[in-house]
Symmetry: C2
Subunit: 353 residues, 2 copies
Amino acid sequence: MKAWEANIRRVTPYVPGEQPKSKDVIKLNTNENPYPPSPRVKEALLNVDELRKYPDPNVYDLRKALADYHKIDINRMFVGVGSDDVLANIFITFFNGDKPVLFPDITYSFYDVWASLYNIPFEQPKLDDNFRIVKEDYYKPNGGIVIANPNAPTAIAEPMSFIEDIVKNNQESVVVVDEAYVDFGGESALPLIDKYDNLLVVRTFSKSRSLAGMRIGYVMGHEDLIAALNDVKQSINSYTMTRASIDVGVASVLDDDYFREYVAKIVSTREAFSKEMRELGFTFADSSANFIFAKHNKAKAADIYNAAKDKGIFVRYFNKPRIDNYLRITIGTDEEMDKFLAFLKEFLTTSGC
Amino acid sequence: MKAWEANIRRVTPYVPGEQPKSKDVIKLNTNENPYPPSPRVKEALLNVDELRKYPDPNVYDLRKALADYHKIDINRMFVGVGSDDVLANIFITFFNGDKPVLFPDITYSFYDVWASLYNIPFEQPKLDDNFRIVKEDYYKPNGGIVIANPNAPTAIAEPMSFIEDIVKNNQESVVVVDEAYVDFGGESALPLIDKYDNLLVVRTFSKSRSLAGMRIGYVMGHEDLIAALNDVKQSINSYTMTRASIDVGVASVLDDDYFREYVAKIVSTREAFSKEMRELGFTFADSSANFIFAKHNKAKAADIYNAAKDKGIFVRYFNKPRIDNYLRITIGTDEEMDKFLAFLKEFLTTSGC
C-alpha cells in the first residue's frame, strides 16, 4: 500500500437504480415522472449568453418563488442540488452530537450512507410488521431524527399529527421530515414550522415536477436552522445551483396549473393500477406516492424483477432483509402500466402462480 | 441556547466576489469570461423532455468527451459541479491524516475553508516577497499539498518542472494542482500523471470555456485516486451534474476552434491592458491568467476599488495581510478595459497620483 492510501476515506456508496442507456425500455425503477416538465421550462433555458457568469450564490429568485408559493418568509427557505444535496448538508450541519441519529430500518437508503460518511452515530428503529413507523421508538435521547413521509420504499404516509407527536417529544433534537413524495397524497408537516423551531421539511423537484434531470431540492424551517445550513453550504461550494436550474425551477413553480394537472394524472393511474395489481394477487399498503411497494402471494419478487428486465421493463428490487420479496414499481403512463400488467399476466400464467 | 444548537457545525464561509443585480455594471471582479459560450451550447440545451429523468450518475458522455480531448483513459477522469465541488471532494476523500495539508498563505481562499470545515489540519507556507511559491517549503512531512498554478490571485505560473520537483519530493502525499487558469498561459502538469500516481490535476469550465453558470469542473489522475474520489462523491449525492450541464459541457469540448479563438482574444486584450496599466504607474508580475494582480505606486488599492465601484466598475479587493494594497482585475472585452482605463486616468489625475 502506498503511504497516501492510508489517508483515503473509505466508504460504501449508495447504489442508485439502474439507468439503462437504451431508449426502448420502460423505466419504472427510479420514481421519475413519466411526463415532461412544464412547457415554460423550455423558454427558461434560452438565456445562453448569461451562462458565462456565475449563478447567484444565494439562489434568490428561486428561493423567492418557492417562499411565495408556500407563503413563508424567504429566510426560511434553502435550495440545493436535489434533495440529496439538501439532506447531505443537513447531516453535516446539524448532526454533530454523540447521541445516535434515528431513522427507520426500512427507509430511503441514503440516510445511513451519509451518517457513515460523516462519522455520525445512528440507530434504525424497526418498522412494525405492516411497515408502519412506531413513533414511540423515537421518544428517547438522540442526536437528530429523519423521517421520510410518505416513507420510501413503503409508499405509506402518516398524518401531520403523527409527525407532530414526534417533534413535540423531541424538542432537543433537529427533526427532519423528507417529503419527496408528499405531492402524490401525503399530508405535509409544513404548517408545523410555525410552531416548532427544530423542524425541517424537505422537498424535491425530481418527482412531482418532472425535473429530476435538473437537480433541485429545498428545505423549509426556522430561519436560524436555515442560516446555519447556508453557512455550511457556502463553505463547501458557493455556486452549486446552475443558472439553468434556477431559471427552470422558477418557471416550474410559476406554472401551477400544469403541476396540478399532471400530479392528478399520476394519482389516477396509480389508483387504477393498484386495483389491477390486487386482482393479480399482489398485496400492498395504499400508496401515497408515485410508486407502489408490493409482494405477490405466490411468485417471488426477484423472479418477477428478472423476468421483467428481460422484457425491457425495469422495476426496483432491494436484496435486503425484510423487503427482499417486494418490488417497488414507479407509476408511469397508463400505457406503460398496461404493458407491465400484460407482462405480469403472462409471467404469472406461465410460471403457474 | 437550544439543546440542538450545541450540535450545529459552525463555520466561517468563503465570501465570493460581489454579484451585482444591475446589468449596467462592468464586472471585472469574479474572473468570468466576457464572451458567451460556444453557439453549440444553445442546441445542447433543447432536450427538455428528457429533464424528467435523472442524469447519468457516472457522467459518462462528458467524461468520455474530456478524456478523448486530453487523450487519457476515461477511468482517470472525474467530473464535478465546478472545480469547487471537485476540490471539496478531494479534501474530504484524501486528506484524512494527522499531518498538516500544505498550501500557500496567498492562494485561492477556499482551501482553508474546506480544511476547517472537514477538521483537516493545515499549514500555509509564505510566498516570497515577489509572490512566488518557495518549493522547498513543501519538502517536509505533510498530509497533502495543494498548489494553484497559475496561482490566484497572483496570476503567476510556474513551469511543469517546478511542479514535478514538488511531486517528486512528496511521494507519500496526494499532490493537487489546481489549473483553473492554465488555458490563459500556464504550462499544465497533466503529462506528469503518467509518471506519478499521487498527482491530481484540476480544471474548470468557468473561465476559459465561458460556462461559470453551468458549474462544470474536472480532475485527472491515477485511476485508483479517481475511483476513491468517485466512491466518496457517490456517497454524498449520486446525481450532482444536471442533464443540462452534461450536454452543454460536451458541446463546449467539441467546439475547439471557438475555444481557442476566444482564449486568444482574452490573452491579447490582457497584453495590451497590461502595457497601459504599467504606463499608469501600476506594478505587477506578468499574468498567465485571465486577470492581473496589481498595485499602484501611489494610489491606495482600497480607494481605487471604492471609486471604481461608485462608477459601476467592479474589481476584486482582498482586505487581507500582505495583499491589502493590491487589486485583482479580470480581463473583460477591449471595450470594458478601455472604460476601466479611462476611469483610472481620471481618478489618478483628480487624486493627484
